[in-house]
Structure formats: C-alpha cells, structure tokens
Amino acid sequence: MVTKRTGSKALLALTAASMGLPALAPKSARAQTQPEGFSASYRHSQYSEGEQPATQSATGAVERFDITVQQLHLQTPMFGNAAVTVDLVSETLSGASPWFITPGVDGEPVQTMSGATIDEQRDEINVATNLFSEHARTGMGFSYSTENDYESFGVRFSHSSYSDDKNSTVDFAIGGSVDSITPTQAEGITRVIEEGKTNFYGSVGFSHVFNKTLLIGVSGSYSVFEGFLSDPYKLVFVAGDLLPDARPEDRQQAAFDVRVRKYLPSYDVALHSDYRYYTDTFGVVSNTLKLGAFKNIGSWQVSLGVRAYLQDSANFHANFFESERQDGYYSSDYRLSEFQSLSFSAGIKKDFGFGAIRLNYENYESTGEGDTPNPGLVDFELVSVGIEFSIK
C-alpha cells in the first residue's frame, strides 16, 4: 500500500486529466458560441489632444483636435445558427493639425499648425454575418466609411475552427479595402485633386485555453497598401522649399502578437498582457506592451491598464531636410517619427441584470526620441461613457 509516487505529481496528472472534461469548462472559456439574444451597446467618447505649446509653434499656442465619437453596436441571432452584427460609428473632429515644420533661429524645429480650424465629420457602417457550427465560426463583413474628402469600402472574411475539446482555436482572416481621397482645396496651396489606395491583408492566429485560468494566443498578420499613401494636407521643409509630404506608393506591414489572459481565482482578478512587434517597408519598427487588470467586486468591475509604445522612425522622416533626398520621399509627420509613448487608463463598470454602464479614462503622453524630437507629438486625454443591454 505504501507508494513512492509523490502527491504533487499525482496532482499534476489528475488536474491534467480533469481539464479536458467537457462539462467542466464554462462556455465563456470555450469556443465562441452563437449569441443567445439581441444585444445592443452605445458608447460616447470624448478625445481631447493637449494644446501645441507656444515654444514649439510658429503661431503661438494652438488648440489641437477635439474629437467626439459615438458608437452603436447591434447584434441579433438569426436562422438558428447565425448572427448579424451592425456597427455604426460617427465622429466629429474640430481643431488644428500639424502642417509643416521649419528650422527655427537656432536650428530647432518649429511646428506650424494648419491655419483654419478644421471641422470634419466621419461616418462608418460595418455589417457582418457569422455562421456558427459545433467546430467552427465563419464570418463575412462589409464596411463603408465616408468623410467630406474621403471614402472607403472594405470587405473581410474570417474563419475560426475549434478543437474537439474547444480549448484550441485557429483563426484565419483576409480582407481588403479600396479608398479614395479628394482633398479639400485651399487658395494658394497646391494639393492633389483625387487619389486612391488599396489595401489587402491576411492574418493567422492560434489560441489555446491551457486551463480554466490561463489562455495564451499568438497571431501574425501581413498587410500591403498600394497607391497614394502620403498625407495631402502636410508639407515638408526641404532645402528652403515647402514641398508636399511624399511617401512611397507601396507599404508592406507585418506584425506579430502574443496575448496572455490569466485569471487569479483567489483574488477574482483577471490579468491581461499583450505584446506586439510591428515592422514595415517605410522602416517603421515598433514594440507595444499592454498590461491590464480587471477586478470584480460584486456587480462592479474596476480596471487599470498601462500601455508602453516604442517606435523607430521611417527612413524618410525628418523634422526638416537641409538637402534633397535621392528617392524624393519626405515626411515630417510626427506619426512617422522616433518616439515613445506611455498611457494609463482606468475604468469602472457596473452590471445590471439587463446590461451594464461603463466609464473609462485614458491619459496618453508621447515623448520624442533621437537628437531632435518631432515637435508635433501629441498628448491626449480620452473619456468615454458606454451603456449596453441585452435581451435573451
């Protein structure tokens, strides 16, 4: 009766043997399943960029963008094994954006902002259908987005398949979009009349539920853009002249993602960590690390998050150019500069039987890197309020 087997080995063996048992894993940790009833959610967000400091601006301190975003999400089951989802987004933007950078008296970069206040409206609709079966989910979606100077039409196919025990998921997605831009013209400024671009992308992902408290997922994606990829509203200072922002007509992007979801039952806390490596043919390389914690207290959920981002600049980015480049590509867009950013977020959510209300806050600060950081880099605050409800 005396055995040499250790208790800890037995614990591992029996825990492993119990893990695949079908009745034990809640559906929430299992595969995506068809939604049970109609659900809807609405979110209102207010995004405010910090003002451009007078010390770095050619025209004194300037308010940058304020953006109001309204999002409506509707989902309903159909035909027994399908679901239709409709997402509507409406954004209103107002403010000024970085226009060009010139060398100051001491050679320091000075940002000139767009003169007139820009008022913009963007509306987007996404419609998607998903078919659910025991071992798979197949989806197809269309999107259309419009602004006064921009139009985009997109299509997406996705497929997820699940292992018998529903613990492993393989995802594929492909999609593309066709965009056209007809920039608003202004007197005395030469801008392109009408341009277009196309995008094609594909992604593959794998995720596995190791046990009821641990999920790890990895995915890779590739995307290619062709056409007019420059910003028609930005200018670049090149050897004394202001030239239009000019970027290559081809951009290939690759990204690799790892995500880990860990639940700590004794604290009722879920920890999320996400890492992303990104690289593209413009020369931009970035690393993103996101950490989040979600704690349930009764019907309340409190969350805290931090996101760190580190980016290397594009090959053809500089605040300004003393001489011409052989390839003819120039940009002083702060989004292509070398910088790092850190953002902190906090949220609170209250669950009711029929739905939930949530409030989120995010504070984002970016800092330029390299010898002379881009003066257009932005800080922002984001406040959003959301309400969601479902009818089962």
């Binding site: 009766m1 005396v2 055995t3 087997r5 250790t6 208790g7 800890s8 080995k9 037995a10 614990l11 063996a13 029996l14 825990t15 492993a16 043997a17 119990s18 695949g20 048992l21 079908p22 009745a23 034990l24 894993a25 809640p26 559906k27 929430s28 018998d164 025990d165 009821k212 408290t213 039952p265 004794s266 009722d268 349930n296 207290i297 009764g298 019907s299 009711f352 039987g353």
Partner: protein
C-alpha cells in the same frame, strides 16, 4: 440589487443544495431548472442503477465479445479513471465495485475468505480493453462504476453552468461535495460545514471558502462494527478486504471538486504516510484522525469555536 436564492433537492443518492445570487426570482428558477437538468443528465448517463445508463451498457456487454462505443465525455472520464488508477498504484480501481456483491454493510457480517476470492478475478482495470472511443470488459461479471467521482464531476459541471449563466456568487453542494462559484457579493467567504465522522448531521468543523471546491471522504459513509472493529466501505482491490484508514475523514480543497474528491479518497486509501503525502500535494486540507483530532493546513474552527492552524 442581487438577492440570494436557494433550492434543495435529492439527486445521486444525496441531499443537494444550490445557492445563487441573482436579480430576480424568475431568473433563479430558470437557472435552478437548468442545473437540476444537468444533474439528471449525468445521473441518467452514469448511474449503475439505471439500466439505460452508459455504465450499465458497458457492464452488460462484459464478456460478450464486442466492445461498447462511448461518447467523448465518457472517454475522458475513463481517461480520468485511468489516471486515478495509475496515481494510486491500483488502489483506486473503478472495477472494484463488484466487491459490493460480497460485502453487505447492512448484514453486520464479514464475507468469508472464499466469497472474497470468488470475485477478486473480476477486479483489475489493467485487464480492461480500451480503444479510442470504445471499452470492453473481457470477463462476464466484470463491472465498472463512476461512484468514486461522478458526484464531484457533477458539482464542477454545475459550477461551470452557473458561470455560463453569469452567476458570480453562489455555491453548489451535492451531498457535502462543494464548489463555490464566488464569495458572497460583499466578498465574505461561504462557510462550509465538514461532516462529523461519528455524529451524523453534525459538523465537526467549518471552513471558509471563497473560490474552488471542498470535498470530504470518510470511513463513516457505509460501515459495520464487528467486535468493536470498524469495517468501512473503502475496500482494497487487491485483497478484497476493508481498509482501516488512519483518518476518520479527509477534506481537501482544490480548484475543482473532481480533483478535491479524488485526493480525499486517495488520502483515505493511503497507509500511514497519508498525512505527508497530502502535504506534498500542497493542497489545503483538514484531517480528522480516529481520535477525532483535527489537523491540516486549513484555517478551521471546530464546533466548539476552537481554531486550529498549522
């Protein structure tokens, strides 16, 4: 505003109780119906007393020359039983139930050596033929049963269903095997009574549980006293004799009730090294020895209010 709702019922030969916090009574009724439906499903599927159960079909086909095909849930439970057999060095054997035919605990009479010898050849999980989705008991009279873990499995299955119903605060108790879905809404743990091994319907201790499961195995479930000696329902599959466990009961806490229950049974089946063996698993536990002394790592109160902690 969530309220607490509870439902008691009999299933799997035990008194069962469900308690959940939810917003309205009608919702709680729906959830209770669903959970009781799940217990019935498992009982119908795995009870050896129901002739249509998967277990009865497997047992009826013993020695008949053809295997029985089973579904993936059954395959995985058989795999679990296989692991239990291996990890216990054969002491936890789901083919040993045939010993009940010679051990009648209501008779107050020990089986004779010849009677025990007559059924021993029918015991031995290692002799069972298994394919991917099939099982065959090679000898007529051989039988298996999931009595050693079916109730614990059901407890976990109900807890998983509670989570599917968005229940964040609740407790599932099937005959003393307990799984907590989450603490009371104010964060206080559930107080779970541990059965007194010598006084039915009385708790010897209370443990506090916010998450996970507690399961207890004891020598008091079925037994007979002969010449002052206690013969309990735990039988050694090799000798066919009753085991005289070191502990009157062993309670184990683990994430799942299935694992907690398996370890409480394994600890009862172990010999003198049971305490050290349980210690080596790292699982919180409460041991009650034959003199009713409490020990273990669980912060527990005896019914006199005395607290023991190692």
């Amino acid at each position: 505003m969530t309220m607490r709702f509870s439902r008691s019922f009999k299933a799997m030969g035990s008194l069962c109780e469900l308690q959940i916090y939810t917003h309205e009574k009608s919702r709680s009724e729906e959830i209770f119906e669903d959970l009781i439906g799940e217990v019935s499903r498992l009982e119908d599927k795995y009870s050896r007393y129901k002739s249509t159960s998967v277990i009865s079909q497997i047992n009826a086909a013993a020695g008949q020359g053809a295997p029985v095909y089973v579904d993936s849930e059954t395959v995985q439970l058989l795999d679990y039983a296989d692991t239990l057999f291996a990890e216990s060095d054969g002491m936890f054997d789901i083919t040993s139930g045939v010993l009940r035919e010679v051990w009648d605990f209501r008779s107050a009479k020990l089986p004779s050596a010849a009677e025990v010898r007559s059924v021993l050849p029918l015991i031995g999980w290692q002799n069972v033929d298994r394919g991917d989705d099939q099982i065959y008991l090679p000898q007529q009279g051989m039988q298996i049963d999931f009595g050693g873990f079916a109730k614990e499995y059901a407890v976990d299955a109900l807890a998983a269903r509670c989570i599917d119903h968005d229940i964040q605060h609740g407790i599932v108790n099937l005959g003393g095997d307990v799984r907590v879905v989450g603490p009371h809404p104010d964060g206080t743990p559930w107080r779970v009574g541990i059965q007194h091994p010598r006084a039915p319907a009385k708790a010897i201790s209370v443990v506090e549980v916010s998450h996970g499961a507690v399961a207890t195995s004891g020598d008091y479930e079925r037994f007979m006293l002969i010449d002052g000696k206690r013969y309990c329902h735990l039988l050694n599959p090799e000798t066919g004799r009753s085991i005289h466990p070191q502990f009157a009961s062993v309670s184990i806490m683990a994430d799942s009730c299935l694992v907690a229950g398996s370890f409480s049974t394994l600890a009862m089946l172990k010999g003198d090294d049971a305490a050290a063996w349980i210690e080596s698993t790292g699982l919180p536990h409460l041991l009650v020895d034959q003199s009713l002394r409490l020990s273990g790592t669980v912060h527990a109160e005896s019914d006199t209010g005395e607290t023991t902690r190692r």
